[in-house]
Symmetry: C2
Subunit: 344 residues, 2 copies
DNA sequence: CTGAAAGCGCTTACAG
DNA sequence: CTGAAAGCGCTTACAG
């Protein structure tokens, strides 16, 4: 039975470097050199090998390569979020798809790992060390030890958003939360609003903190007083936004604008305002954050702050691959953009 | 430098089967036998190896194992949907998470592959053959050739929903779409509705066809006439549902119930009915399909047909792993359940 | 039940 | 620029 014939299982035995070498009339070492950049290979040998590769349909056996290089040429996308948030929040999809696509361009497969429970987290950590070249980490809890653990284990890592309490040892990519919040609040001010409230994100997440800081700083810049009654914390969920808005209307019935720290919460805010009989934007202007699919699904469509998800995911991938290649960690902050629609 | 000391890169050199064998005082072959089920190993050797594994912190090098076994011990989750649907439809998240978790229980990593374009599809197909033991396929287009291609390439495969035109050669797991539609339509009938319309799914998808068939059959069983004016096709998107409902109100203003083939479309239907000033469920009852997170986000909350996503994903994984292990393809149909909430 | 040995497909000094 | 050779960490007949 020749090497390329059917074997018993119905799968063909794929060609190896040896088949290519024989076909090209060179040694296996030369074929390998061609595969790895073509350095120290004569033009004629290069040519012969390339057409032999084409003719045989050869593709490298990654297991054999990984065994010797010690690299897996794959990357994990590790999500440490409770189940509900992953299902509800469209931002994760955008990010996951962006990273998958950006990695595919480098021929690097993405292993999806989800750690909703402590047991899953341990299992994933065990797998990561030694099976994956690096990790794209999506996690927002300040209590989450996974960034520190991965860093300590020497695993190349880039987080989406600044991991709390990691100083600058860990790479991350984030939008300019503070600047985005500032743009929105200034926009509300310039459209004549003077009682501007905010539904904040969780204050144990860097994004939540920064957006609130941007709100507060801009109020000061505009000469508006900071009124604690106008600040309500949220949890990035739709239901949380609705509850926050109800509370807000109770505490400050004269509010004329709300900056909401996420589009999903803003959807909840819209629901609460509608129930309360307040018109948006006539009575109360509502500004969101993210420009996620939720912004377009909302009624009215949300004026919001766009996070550049495509760039966030491609930068995460770029920084991670660089780090796997030996570069030092880096933090990347990307600008946001105010998107005007109907809610403010 | 001993084998377990730091090397230059800050990573430790992980223990190998050789370290375990030395520690346990047996040969590497015996260690390997323990690793692969412990057959033909004496109790005392088993014991020595197990504690040596524990002591050294040994984990198998999957690359070395794969090189020799020819298996990768990994599985691809291949999504061939246009970008928008993946972002909008929460069903994908539920399925993706379910499969990830079910595979994790078998220590099998999931490679996420997304093929939105023809180029991505080709790249993924090239990667799959030889790098992955099997594929979980999520794709609904009747024109999609990927199921046939994978099958022809001899790659173990299980689809979510019956792949169009594949006979019974390809394994799949699906909900009982026809039965679910029947339950809903019968429920609407029994609550007194007599002008029951439907917003159907795409008719080039098996789910769309089956749910429509269930609608039609139940009408007949209830002695209601089949009126083409009451049947509007949709595309599983929210916007499509809204458009369909507008059209429906125009064609049949006396409609008193709508069975909508997906929750996301049902959200759009609710929006259109609200705009038209129709109360739900008083004037018009609305029944959805999926029991996705969209059903709970809708106002009023949707009465719908639950697809058992947890079981669908775990069955997909079970059937795929069985097939990788040599079993024949199989089709699995899972029962649905009517979930009563506020919209009908 | 066990060990010695071959070999999976590749990369990489090494010597020329 | 090139080939011969060692070796990555494992599994699996084979002989005992």
């Amino acid at each position: 039975m020749s090497r390329t014939e059917q074997n018993g299982t119905g799968r063909r035995r794929p060609p190896t470097i040896h088949d290519v070498a024989r076909e090209a009339g060179v040694s296996r070492g030369t074929v390998s050199r061609v595969l790895n950049g073509g350095h120290n290979v004569s033009p004629s040998a290069l040519d012969a090998v390339q057409s032999a590769i084409h003719k045989t349909g050869y593709t490298v056996n990654r297991h054999a390569r990984s065994l010797i290089t010690g690299r897996s040429d794959s990357v994990a996308f590790l999500l440490t979020e409770p189940q509900e948030r992953f299902f509800e929040d469209p931002n994760f999809n955008v990010l996951l798809r962006g990273c998958t696509t950006a990695l595919a361009a480098h021929d690097v497969p993405l292993l999806l790992m989800i750690a909703g429970t402590e047991a899953e987290r341990r299992r994933n950590m065990r797998y990561i060390a030694g099976h994956v070249d690096g990790v794209l980490l999506v996690s927002s809890h300040s209590g989450d030890p996974v960034a520190a653990q991965l860093h300590d284990a020497g695993v190349p890592l880039v987080a989406c958003g600044k991991p709390p309490g990691q100083g600058s040892k860990v790479s991350y990519v984030a939008a300019d939360d503070l600047g985005g919040a500032r743009d929105m609040v200034r926009y509300l001010y310039e459209s004549g609003r003077r009682r501007i409230a905010t539904v904040a994100g969780p204050l144990d997440t860097p994004g939540g903190v920064e957006r609130l800081a941007g709100y507060r700083a801009t109020l000061a810049e505009c000469g508006l007083p900071y009124d604690e009654a106008l600040v309500v914390p949220g949890d990035y969920s739709r239901a949380g936004g609705e509850a926050a808005a109800s509370l807000l209307l109770e505490r400050a019935p004269d509010v004329d604008a709300v900056f909401v720290a996420s589009d999903l919460m803003a959807q909840g805010v819209l629901t609460a305002l509608e129930k309360a009989g307040r018109r948006v934007p006539q009575d109360i202007a509502v500004g969101g954050f993210d420009d996620s699919p939720a912004a377009l699904a909302a009624r009215p469509e949300l004026t919001t702050v766009r996070q550049p998800w495509d760039r966030i995911s491609s930068e995460m991938v770029r920084v991670l691959l660089a780090q796997i290649g030996g570069e030092d960690p880096a933090a990347v902050i990307l600008p946001t953009e105010l998107v005007r629609r109907d809610s403010a």
